[in-house]
């Protein structure tokens, strides 16, 4: 140990004290000390004041994706999925990823187009620690959801709230169990059966909350590095799925259509405005009073929304960096403030600059040139498809519940003639990156401006990643099982 060596040397020097005069000793010691000083690390004590990090990230409250689609195997129901916790490494031990007990997770529905929530499904989690004398996640193999070896079992309460009013809140289920994280064959054997025990049926509703394989697939490194397409124009593969092998925390619900529509019916005519519902997810944390009053226990304030997500890629591609905090804490009804970014998109200018694509004209919100196709897709809904008859701009994932599941789904959804796909809701396999790139490049513009001919390249754009690395399943919750920590290859 080097410190010991330094100490040893210093004591050797001291031993020579009696052999030299006092002055010479001090000169020597000084020389020696200055040498040590020169070579020591330039660091300071971390003691007299507290230096807490000041980080912007809040992973457990960070929504990654929302999905909404008519369940292919149960077409009178809608499946809603909201995922949280980006870049969840499967081998996340010894403190595995969970939901945060202090976050209110919600999936919200606007079924009358006024940009306000009509229905909200709320998830509140609680971690039940079995043995306080250990901080281990599990103390042995977890063979069932009630196995005492699962030391940090997380359960939840599911409630349904109408019109955003506490007085109209119904608890649907209490102490519902999540599955454990998929650790490996010793800790979590027979993971599929462990997970399926965590799929709960409450009347006509199914619910699941727990770890899943991240269903999103995108060339992250490429797309966010100034729209790099590795093999242009991007419709022949060549991309690298930056989310391959990661897990997420999923909230999933399967609900009868009639429980979500404004008229409590199951519309069959897609032109019926009641057939359109808008979906988004929000995560909130309770604000806290900095100093508690003496003896006062209740020191919490109101719920503050810290994250919200509806349609994919809006926060990444449309909203500029400086506005993300405002976006995350604002409500859909105030989304007109962001309309300029949709009406006059930066990404379109980039596609023109980098790839020479002739994009449609664009201009500020309200101007003649505004990208009304993108405004429809992201903010108001596409007429005769996902517009519920109201034109108030708000960013939501809009689903037309009267369009039945496609016999042969196409990953490019509406742009390829498959009207059951994105931007009509979002299925797990919809390639939203390619769809968004093509839409911004003008592929959907003719819907609103029939005389416009999109650049031929527009329909070929993509990131070169067309499918998820894991196959989706055919029944609720449809998401692929998460990779076990044991089997995973930690990302470099």
């Amino acid at each position: 140990m080097k410190i010991k060596l330094i100490i040893m040397l210093m004591s050797i020097v001291k031993k020579f004290t009696h052999l030299v005069t006092r002055e010479k000793y001090f000169i020597g010691l000084l020389l020696f000390l200055s040498l040590i000083a020169l070579l020591m690390n330039t660091s300071v004590s971390a003691s007299s004041h507290r230096e807490a990090p000041n980080i912007a990230a809040d992973p457990k409250a960070d929504a990654t994706d929302v999905y909404a689609f008519i369940s292919p195997d149960k077409p009178n129901t809608v499946t809603l999925v909201a995922n949280y916790l980006p870049f969840e490494e499967p081998a996340g031990g010894p403190n595995f990823y969970t939901f945060d007990d202090n976050v209110l997770y919600e999936i919200k529905i606007d079924n009358d187009g006024d940009a306000e929530e009509d229905i909200a499904y709320q998830f509140r989690f609680k971690t039940n620690i079995k043995n306080n004398n250990t901080f281990l996640y599990n103390t042995g193999p977890i063979t069932s959801l009630t196995d005492p070896d699962w030391n940090m079992r997380q359960t939840y309460t599911l409630a349904r709230v109408e019109d955003g009013k506490i007085s109209k809140s119904t608890v649907l289920g209490k102490d519902l169990s999540t599955p454990p994280s998929n650790i490996g064959p010793k800790s979590t054997p027979n993971y599929e059966s462990l997970q399926s025990a965590a799929i709960h049926t409450i009347g006509d509703v199914k619910v699941f909350a727990g770890q899943s394989d991240d269903p999103f697939f995108v060339d992250l490194g490429g797309v966010f590095d100034l729209l790099t397409i590795r093999t242009p124009p991007g419709n022949a593969g060549g991309g690298i799925d930056g989310l391959r092998g990661y897990s997420v925390q999923s909230l999933a619900l399967q609900i009868p259509i009639s429980q979500l529509t404004r008229n409590h019916e199951t519309p069959t005519d897609s032109k019926n405005p009641a057939a359109v519902i808008g979906v988004w997810t929000a995560a909130s944390r309770e604000s806290v009073r900095i100093l508690r009053d003496n003896g006062e226990i209740k020191n919490s304030g109101k719920w503050i929304e810290v994250s919200r997500l509806g349609a994919p890629l809006v926060n990444e591609v449309v909203i500029p960096l400086g506005k993300k905090d405002i976006w995350n804490s604002s409500e859909p009804e105030n989304d007109a403030q962001f309309a300029n970014y949709v009406a006059d998109p930066e990404v379109a200018k980039l596609l023109n600059l980098l790839y020479g694509i002739t994009v449609p004209p664009q201009g500020p919100f309200g101007s003649a040139n505004q990208r009304d196709d993108l405004i429809a897709i992201f903010l108001t809904g596409i007429p005769n498809l996902t517009n519920s008859g109201v034109t108030k701009a708000s960013e939501q994932l809009r689903l037309n519940v009267a369009i039945p599941p496609a016999g042969s789904p196409n990953r490019l959804g509406v742009l390829a003639g498959d009207n059951q796909g994105y931007p009509n809701g979002r299925r797990l396999a919809d390639d939203v990156t390619d769809i968004s790139l093509q839409a911004v490049a003008g592929a959907a513009y003719p819907l609103f401006h029939p005389s416009f001919t999109p650049d031929p390249l527009a329909a070929q754009l993509g990131d070169g990643v067309d499918t998820n690395d894991k196959v989706f399943r055919t029944s609720f919750p449809y998401l692929a099982l998460p990779t076990s920590g044991f089997d995973s290859i930690p990302h470099p």
């Binding site: 410190i3 070579l39 300071v44 807490a52 604000s287």
Partner: protein
């Protein structure tokens, strides 16, 4: 010994120490890739990725701020102050593209805080808030500076604003510190638990909060504290503050050999003055005064080195010198210098009080001790100092009361002085 032989001896020693120091530096720099696995590598990976992207796209200023943020994290992990120079460079470059960017002020404020120039940190932080009043992190920067300057009420306001905009790890951790300052230890623990539950992309942040929690638990439950420090190690292997925490716990259990091992390990990974002092204090306790002195010399050298790197260490150094009866006049000079800059900080007033007491001026000491207690009788160290000062001012009843209170709050508050409490 002849003059010639002395010169040869010194040259020989210099050579050896050069070699030792060179290897030592290499160890310190390689720590991230060598010993520790992928939990810590995230910081280095992100740095490399961003540096690369900047070199090929120097127009995207968001990358500069992202990179600065990661460098701040790296300083937390390595205490390598040279990184502040790189951050300054990055900000100089961003300034040429748009000087009124609020993030520039915020970043420079954080550098100032790292160098303990809290007046500058507040000034720059407030400029950032002026330009963007709804950004939570700017309020955090201002709040931090206000705490260090002893403007506690203003700090509470700033952090409340931060919390009301966005409850998060950062606002929970800051609330914990303020609650501790105001004596609400249970409330502080609650906030740290919230911060830990929220998590962070950097495991070091969670380990740091676990250590903060462990320190509070240590006051009343040594076993709980031990568990928490070990949990911190499980989150971030060989985390030096957790090792030091286990050192203190070992000391409390009278396992002095174990304590020395923990502190030595912490010192090896992060060669800072505090850990050298800790080793010295254990050696002092077991009567190995010569060894202790060597470590105190090492600590002093570390403080001087930090000073020459641009960090104001007057407060820490003054307390250290006074505690170990080394150069009290320098201690007084430093304590008075800090007091001049930030007299409202209760720890600054307390340090000045202690130095004056050690310098044989108990009456003057009392004035500053009273200031240090203005928020209430909460902090064990401040109470201990006040007790000793009361004794020196011929006030034995008051002395007894204060020292008894210290022991009730935290029997193991100090390795150096804890034994004085046991005689009560």
């Amino acid at each position: 010994m002849t003059k010639k032989k002395l010169i040869i001896l010194l040259l020989l020693l210099s050579l050896i120490s050069l070699l030792v120091g060179y290897e030592f530096l290499q160890d310190a720099n390689n720590r991230g890739t060598e010993e520790v696995a992928d939990t810590q590598n995230k910081t280095d990976r992100t740095i490399n990725d961003l540096e690369r992207r900047i070199s090929s796209n120097y127009e995207d200023i968001t990358l500069y701020f992202q990179l600065s943020d990661v460098y701040f994290q790296k300083v937390r992990e390595t205490a390598d102050l040279a990184l502040y120079t790189r951050i300054d460079e990055l900000m100089d470059q961003v300034e040429t593209k748009g000087p009124e960017n609020a993030d520039i002020f915020a970043t420079r404020a954080q550098v100032a805080a790292g160098k303990h120039d809290f007046v500058k940190a507040l000034e720059l932080g407030q400029k950032a808030v002026e330009l963007n009043p709804t950004k939570p992190s700017y309020l955090g920067i201002v709040g931090d500076a206000q705490i260090e300057l002893g403007k506690y009420e203003e700090a509470v306001e700033s952090i409340q604003k931060m919390m009301d905009l966005k409850p998060s790890y950062s606002s929970f951790a800051r609330t914990a510190y303020l609650r501790e300052i105001y004596g609400d230890i249970d409330g502080a623990k609650e906030m740290l638990e919230k911060a830990i539950s929220a998590g962070s992309p950097y495991p070091e942040n969670i380990a740091a909060s676990l250590v903060d929690l462990g320190k509070l638990q240590f006051r009343t439950d040594v076993e709980q504290a031990t568990l928490t420090f070990n949990q911190a190690l499980s989150v971030y292997s060989d985390f030096p503050p957790a090792l030091a925490g286990l050192g203190r716990v070992s000391f409390a259990k009278e396992d002095y050999k174990g304590a020395i091992e923990y502190f030595e390990k912490a010192l090896q990974i992060l060669p800072i003055a505090q850990y050298a002092t800790d080793v010295g204090d254990v050696y002092s306790k077991i009567g190995e005064t010569e060894k202790a002195k060597l470590y105190y010399t090492l600590a002093l050298t570390a403080y001087k080195k930090a000073e020459s790197s641009g960090v104001n260490t007057d407060l820490e150094t003054a307390l250290f010198l006074a505690d170990h009866d080394m150069d009290l006049s320098q201690a007084l000079e430093k304590a008075q210098a800090v007091y001049k800059i930030r007299p409202d900080n209760i720890y600054v007033a307390d340090t000045l009080a202690w130095v004056l007491n050690k310098s044989g001026k108990p009456k003057e000491a009392k004035t500053y001790s009273v200031q240090a207690l203005r928020l209430g009788e909460f902090d064990p160290l401040i109470l201990f100092h006040a007790g000793v000062i009361a004794g020196k001012n011929n006030n034995p009843e008051e002395a007894k009361r204060l020292l008894a209170k210290t022991r009730t709050l935290h029997p193991y508050f100090s390795m150096q002085y804890a034994s004085l409490l046991s005689v009560l």
